[in-house]
């Protein structure tokens, strides 16, 4: 019960702090003092109190989409193991359900972008839809390989790699961490795929889709985006935290990994610019390649002797 409460609290609040840490890191590299890491929470509350401006063109789709999008992200996060390595909902083939529930939210955010009849938002939707077609197969290949390795179809398989793969395990973990990290950058719309702070609409992906959302809707979307990043970080955390840790130690290790990843994201964003749109594809294909290497390693491990 305690662990459940802790996990739910982590799920709801740590994403904000994680965004705060990223911002603080970027401020540090830019030589600024930066805002407090709690600022995203205050931003969220401020957005919730604001009025909303809605386009005349829009229909119910536009009003529903932020809520459905947020609900799907929150619900998908219930399938992801947090502290202690156990998800709230632990069923076999969880990664399939996880991806498809995220897809449900994505469907509505895509059509809500088209609902505005804007000349820009369709562009973002087109890019988002296009990139996810490359991301999903790579994710499925790596998760299926890991499932085969440990004969475990839940997300617990992430913690069983070392046990089942021996020395190969370290390589697989490293590659899987890279795969998930790239996926995080894509799904979380971070540099070098997308720039959450840019002001040029033509170069944006996710941010351009939500140009017309304002007030509480925008608040929900930003919170959802933070949770989405957080759950991918949680997957990486489960991957690298030793399965033997329990209790408080596991909690500390988990939070440490989350914030270190936030530091890395902040550093990446400070040290490089976003890719040109044509190069984004190449970057995403790196994920497919790492996924295929994971598959090759797993195949060798199982059948190679």
């Amino acid at each position: 019960m305690i662990s459940l409460t802790v996990n739910i609290l982590i799920l709801l609040f740590v994403p904000f702090l994680m965004i705060g840490v990223i911002k603080k890191t970027k401020a540090f590299w830019a030589g600024r003092k930066g805002v407090s890491i709690f600022q995203p929470i205050w931003d969220f509350i401020r957005l919730m109190k604001k009025d909303a401006v809605i386009s005349e063109t829009t229909s119910w789709v536009f009003k529903f989409a932020p809520i459905i999008g947020f609900a799907s992200i929150l619900f998908a996060s219930f399938f992801v193991p947090l502290v202690g390595g156990r998800a709230l909902f632990n069923i076999p083939f969880a990664f399939v359900l996880f991806s498809y529930i995220l897809g449900f939210g994505k469907f509505f955010s895509l059509i809500s972008a088209l609902d505005t009849g804007s000349s820009f938002e369709g562009m973002g939707a087109s890019r988002e839809a296009c990139f996810s077609t490359i991301v999903e197969p790579a994710f499925f290949i790596s998760m299926a390989s890991i499932a085969a390795l440990s004969q475990n179809y839940t997300f617990e398989s992430l913690r069983l790699i070392l046990k089942n793969a021996g020395a190969y395990g370290y390589v697989i973990i490293a590659l899987l961490a890279v795969t998930l990290f790239i996926m995080l950058l894509i799904e979380g719309c971070r540099v070098p795929v997308d720039d959450p702070t840019t002001h040029l609409e033509l170069t944006m992906i996710h941010e351009v889709m939500i140009l017309d959302n304002s007030g509480p809707d925008l608040g929900l979307i930003t919170w959802g985006a933070a949770i989405k990043m957080f759950i991918f970080e949680a997957l990486i955390a489960n991957l690298i935290i030793p399965a033997s840790l329990h209790g408080l130690a596991a909690l500390v290790a988990f939070l440490a990994v989350i914030f270190i990843l936030a530091l890395i994201i902040g550093t990446v964003e400070s040290s490089m610019a976003r890719f040109r749109m044509t190069h984004v594809f190449e970057f995403i294909f790196v994920m497919s390649i790492t996924a295929l290497i994971i598959l090759a390693l797993v195949t060798y491990r199982i059948y190679g002797g």
Partner: protein, 661 residues
């Protein structure tokens, strides 16, 4: 079983009666008779699915055909239910859809007649157990659907699509005849139950028969590379016919494959891999081309190919499970594939019906000319969006359940002793994931560009009001079903596990039955919680009292944006299409702006099917060249033709004397 013949009689009676009554009553008669026969057919079918038994009756037809066995086993029962239910909704929808065509001197009588014949022949196809009679009703089915397709035969493209369909169907029947003839030679019988005995232990023969039947039935079902008739025939046909054809009729091809698989028993690895790989290619190919289409019915037709591919993947996984004697994989695969048959028939009819409503109101199928319909056609739009979510396989709708079962089958099969099975399955998983995300791309395009945003043409702008209630009701029922099957799959899993157990053996199913049941019940609970979560969030959102100000769409500082500046379907799909350039044949029509004050300029992008461009068309032109050589003997002289007949008879007699004895 008498009740089954009663239902067939009702359908035929309806066919005849609809010819006699006056125009405004024709479709009412069709609907009423289909409804009665559906209800009547549901009873024996449900009884079979609940008990797992078989109803059978042998009828002496004529001295030529001999005894014909009619049987409803669980597989037939499942198809009978799908066919009768979906056909009824189709005829109901036709009441509204065909209204503008009535009293215009068009041949509605024959249309109604063939519609009822199509339904009756589909029911017969899935219940007849005699190869000869099967071919007869199969042919009736193909022909009646051909006449339905060419309803607007005075349009050139409709007629040519119809003829293409007819040619493909006869190619299909050729392969089916070949398979049945082989079976007939080896079993010396025409009854299906004898076929299974004849194939027992004959691995090579079974492979040949299955592959022939797979090609034959695959043409009907629309597997790549035999899919080419689908994207032409569906847009040409009236919408309720497209719905019935895409939702139900092409599934008879799947039925045929499954039936022949029952003869084969345990399939060899060769054919199991063939089915899986062909299906995966079909699924990918279908959705890939669907993305490029801007004719909404053509887009949906390509999606039928995709979904047939997904069904085939389920069956392929099931066959692999049998070939590697892994009953859990077999049952999950077959159950997923068979459930997807039901699911696809539901959401594909729904989508076709909604698209038909759009066509009725705007007189265009080109989504580039649509947009903003959600304001004037709120119900149709909502229903289309529901159908879109369902066809993408997103939870909590029905498409997810069947895809999830197929995923489960593949993942269960992964810890295998054989490396090729492992690699194939992992790539099949990736293929299914890719199909799912591409479907999202395609259907966000279809629903977003058609219904959302601002109208892109006058046709779309001048729409007044939604379609008639008699069209909304069937769509509403279908939409409810997509949701209900998604939310409570446990009530439907039983209906597919019984037919699935025909393939995997009923002893094997018991232990797996419970675990599958437990899995889908958990899913059902999760979806319920998801729904609760969404509702709670809606309630919380409603609590936040924020003032809403209406304003025009943010144009990045530009306030004079017009409807033509919206993102279009072409531009939405372009990033994806241009990434995969080699897979398409792109035909562009450009007229560049010229002179000082350019008057007219346009850019049009068309994507041609590479299979048609590089395989079918060269084959046809080669064929034409070859056949042109025979023009010489076609003199138009009757005496000469009689001579040809005589020569043929003499050759035939000589042949009979020498080789026949």
């Amino acid at each position: 079983m008498e009740i089954y013949f009663l239902a067939l009689g009702m359908l035929l009676a309806g066919a005849l009666l609809s010819v006699i009554v006056k125009d405004s009553w024709k479709f009412k008669v069709c609907s009423i008779f289909t409804l009665i026969s559906s209800i009547v057919l549901f009873l024996p079918a449900a009884a079979v699915l609940l008990t797992g038994g078989t109803l059978a009756q042998t009828v002496y037809m004529s001295p030529i055909i001999g005894d014909v066995e009619f049987a409803i086993d669980p597989l037939s029962a499942f198809f009978v239910m799908v066919i009768s239910g979906m056909s009824f909704l189709g005829t109901l929808y036709a009441n509204g859809y065909m209204k503008p065509y009535l009293n215009k001197g068009m041949n509605v009588s024959s249309h109604c007649f063939f519609l009822m014949m199509l339904i009756a022949s589909m029911v017969l196809v899935v219940t007849v157990q005699n190869a000869f009679f099967f071919l007869v009703v199969w042919e009736i089915m193909s022909l009646s659907s051909f006449f339905l397709v060419i309803f607007e035969g005075e349009k050139k493209e409709v007629l040519s699509a119809g003829i293409k369909y007819l040619v493909y169907m006869h190619l299909s029947v050729l392969f089916i005849i070949a398979a049945f003839v082989l079976l007939n030679i080896y079993s010396n019988s025409l009854t299906f139950s004898d076929f299974a005995v004849a194939l027992h232990g004959e691995q090579t023969l079974a492979n040949i028969v299955f592959l022939l039947a797979f090609i034959g039935f695959g043409i009907k079902a629309g597997f790549v590379p035999f899919h080419n008739w689908l994207p032409d025939a569906h847009p040409a046909a009236p919408t309720h016919v497209s719905g019935i054809m895409s939702g139900v009729m092409i599934k008879t091809g799947i039925y045929g494959i499954l039936r022949v698989l029952l003869f084969v028993g345990t399939p060899s690895k060769l054919i199991a891999y063939t089915v899986l790989i062909v299906s995966a290619i079909s699924a990918l190919y279908g959705v890939l081309y669907a993305i490029t289409q801007h004719d909404i019915k053509r887009l949906l037709a390509y999606h039928s190919i995709e979904n047939i591919g997904i069904i085939g993947m389920g069956i392929g996984i099931g066959m692999l499970g049998l070939a590697y004697s892994n009953p859990a994989v077999a049952i999950l695969g077959f159950a997923g594939g068979i459930l997807h048959i039901l699911n696809h028939s539901i959401f594909k009819e729904l989508l076709f019906f909604a698209a038909g409503g759009v066509y009725l109101k705007t007189h265009t199928r080109n989504i580039e000319k649509l947009g903003g319909l959600i304001k004037n056609m709120p119900y149709t739009s909502l229903l289309f969006i529901i159908g879109s979510v369902a066809i993408c396989g997103l939870p909590p709708f029905n498409g997810f359940i069947s895809e999830f079962l197929i995923y489960a089958g593949m993942l269960k099969g992964i810890p295998s002793s054989e490396i090729n099975l492992f690699i194939t399955l992992v790539f099949a998983i990736a293929a299914l994931a890719l199909v799912g995300t591409m479907a999202i791309l395609c259907f966000t395009k279809a629903s977003g560009i058609t219904f959302l945003g601002n109208p892109r043409s006058e046709q779309a702008e001048n729409v007044k009001g939604d379609v008639a209630r008699v069209m909304i009701v069937p769509m509403g029922i279908l939409a409810f079903l997509t949701f209900f099957i998604g939310m409570y799959p446990q009530y439907f899993i039983g209906a597919v596990l019984v037919p699935a157990s025909m393939f995997a053996g009923s002893e094997a199913i018991l232990p797996i039955f419970n675990s599958v049941m437990a899995l889908v019940s958990t899913l059902s609970w999760y979806f319920f919680l998801f729904l609760v979560l969404v509702l709670v969030l809606f309630a919380l959102r409603a609590l936040i009292k924020s003032k809403v100000v209406l304003h025009n769409t943010w144009g990045c500082g530009y306030n004079r944006a017009n409807n033509h500046m919206q993102y279009t379907a072409t531009s939405y799909a372009d990033l994806f299409i241009s990434t995969l350039k080699p897979l398409f044949k792109r035909v562009t029509h450009i007229k560049k702006p010229k002179e000082l004050f350019p008057k007219e300029a346009y850019y049009e992008l068309e994507v041609e099917d590479i299979e048609e461009a590089y395989i079918v068309k060269p084959l046809i032109s080669w064929d034409e060249k070859f056949l042109a050589k025979f023009e010489r003997i076609q003199s138009g002289n009757i005496q000469q033709y009689i001579l040809f007949g005589l020569v043929f008879l003499i050759i035939a007699i000589i042949g009979l004397v020498y080789f026949g004895g």
